[in-house]
Amino acid sequence: MEHIVIIGNGIAGSTAARYLRKLSNNIITMISGETEYPFSRTALMYVYMGHMEFEHTKLYEDWFWVKNRIDTIKAWVKEIDTTSKIILLEDGRKINFDKLILATGSKPNKFGWPGQDLTGVQGLYHYQDIKNMEAATQNGINKAVIVGGGLIGIEMAEMFHSRHIPVTMLVREDSFWNIVLPDEESQMINRHIIANGIDLRLREELQEIKGKDGKVSSMICKNSGEEIECEFVGLTVGVSPNFEFINSSGISTNRGIIVNEYLQTSADSIYAIGDCAELSQPVSGRRPIEAVWYTGRMMGKTVAQTICNEATKYNPGIWFNSAKFFDIEYQVYGDIPAKTPEHITSLYWQHPTENKAIRINYETLTGIVTGFNLMGIRYRHLVCEKWIAERTNIETVIEHLSLANFDPEFFDEYERAFVDLYNQKNNKSIHLKTKRDLGMVKKFLYN
């Protein structure tokens, strides 16, 4: 029986803990300075918005961890001694381990702007961030400025919007998140941000933040030079792996903690998973660091298998992700680059009046489907994944497109419109052959 210690209780760390318990009888300890028990980081926004209380965001009820003999320690780690296998906590306690999993997540980027450490200037990642946001804004403020046009930036805009706090949002690019979203989708989100009353400034960046008595009082835009009075500046220009405390340990790092395909670091019996891990050899088409909920979860499961059973390579499978931009849900399956490569045809259908769109990419020559992008429409993960994995032809896919539809009952279905668009562009006459029906989906998936 070994003592396995996990630093970090985010989705990667807590998933690792659960699978370690499923697969072994080892002693498991999960250390976090953030909270005693795991919660859903992605749900913090809803706590601020009053949709939920913090308690609701916990992954499991508290007794779950006790019942499954997963010990928890609420403390920050100061440093790790890799040779004697000891963890030193900030409070002076020492913990011995046989195996160690680093799952310490990310921290919001700060690029050395003047005033970036003033009170009321912060990112959004940790539980403590949401407490600070609450403290900075609970008596009402007149203006918040958000720097950065990504997922966390728009979440923050939605949070302030829920409290009727006027928001100015600075986005460096020409259009919201267009390093990831293709133009049409990105512009749909631009319009939706503006429709929600957000003052969206494209092609604008942060120059400096000014303060009074240690608190933010205004910020200056880099391009226009305009000074905007504000009581809060949200820094949401991406996140970076969080690993300072291992700097003295000798574990190899680059932008993140370097791991091989088995998620092992350079130190014996020490693994790294989730946002903080940087794969030395990522699978083709994938980035070395993917700070995404889903990959964290997959890594947690993989590392538990490696530790308890046999060495298992991390295989992230076919890319998928999802988000919600104010009221617009977004799902992606497979590969949808922001700029469509030359050998790919990207077929895009958009609802004439509502914020709904379907995009399917396929190889122009072979017709092999490579990705799906959905705005305001829900598609089935497993169906899209199977089509992509089996390199299915676009015409087969659209004939059976209704199998993918996952919208609630009675919702309008747009698969016919999509097929019509394909027919019109290609001078074909393909018809929908299947209906939206779970029985048929199961047949497709499991036969």
Partner: protein
Amino acid sequence: MQPYKSISITAHHQTDGINLNQKLALSLVGIGLLLQMVFWLSFQSEGAGVWLWSSIGLVSVGSIWYTAGQYKNTLPGIKNNNNWFGSLTSRGSFAWVLAILLTGFYVLLYWYPHLLGQGSGGGVNTGLVGLFDPLSIFLKGKPASQWFVYGAIYTLTILLMGVKFIYKYRHNKYQVYRTFSIMFFQTAIAFILPEIMQSLNKPYYDFKNIWPLNYYFFFDWNIDAMLAAGTFGYFMLFWGIISFLVITPILTYFFGKRWYCSWVCGCGGLAETAGDPFRHLSDKSLKAWKLERWMIHSVLVFVTLMTISVLVARFTGIRNILFIDSGSLSSWYGFFIGAAFSGVVGVGFYPLLGNRVWCRFGCPMAAYLGILQRFTIKLPWNKESRRMSKFRITTNGSQCISCGNCSTYCEMGIDVKSYAQRQEDIVRASCVGCGICSAVCPRGVLRLENV
């Protein structure tokens, strides 16, 4: 993180969350209710018509205006902002006051109707009951009773709060259709049709109120009334039996219990409309689930024993089963379950325990439907055991981010997330298929299906 709870209805921030339209609209509702109160406390019976119609008019216009004021300038989408901050929706002082008013009303209704103005011994109605005489006379040519008043207020509430719910969920056709259905069944089948039948000298009968929810269906007085009503009465008796024995199992097989609980039932109707602002208050803990299973199935056993004893007494004359008199068994049931639980606690405690307390912990019909929805059975000619219903909630691959919105907004207190994050279908006896988990999911993970 404990944001303080202000006494404003929705938010505690720089605006108090209520705009001018809403304030004016609430004033109209307030005046309408005040009119009812004044007439009630005057305990007179003259001139009820003017008071009644103006109060209903003011309440209706005010309520719809309020709805418009709240949602008109919002984009279609989920509207749960600040639910846990507002006093009314997070067990603050407004919630307690409302709970006390509601429970108080139910106590008067069940046990002190004369305080509502119910005329005793053929006497003239006054007060609140007298206020509703004109509507009752219009519908069935007879003066009102406290139950007529209750039905009228209940129906009006479902209609007005239904309009609000539809506007709130206008982007979601499942919610819109479902709410129209609830409004229709309450207004036409539960309220107007029985009144018209009474005006034609037929017995009172709400055709969608099925035994065992309709616990008095097999009581002597009810059976006698049906038998005395000729062919139509026999049809009622027949309908009452097959709706329980045949229609319920068949529809539940195809659609799950939702066909009843969130599309047809009056209790469900009130919970889904007036109760909607309180759905997140249900207890999601495992403990609550254990308690729920004990309680609801005990009530089902209770109502079954009580009904059997009543029928045995009718057909054999034996009034004594296991040393308990069938008459007292049925009056206990009526008191504890029919009145105290379903009414006083079930609705009165909406603002404190959530909107489905009765449906979750007490309703024997829900227990019966739940068994039909949940149970698996192995028939000799099938290789594998099969579930008795096609209904389930499916999860979408690995898209769940464990955010907890689904569990929080499940009015039945099902920890939906615990299934979704494990990628398991949700098949729970208590699920009424309201579809809100699917609506509030920010990642498109949940779908109600009949496979």
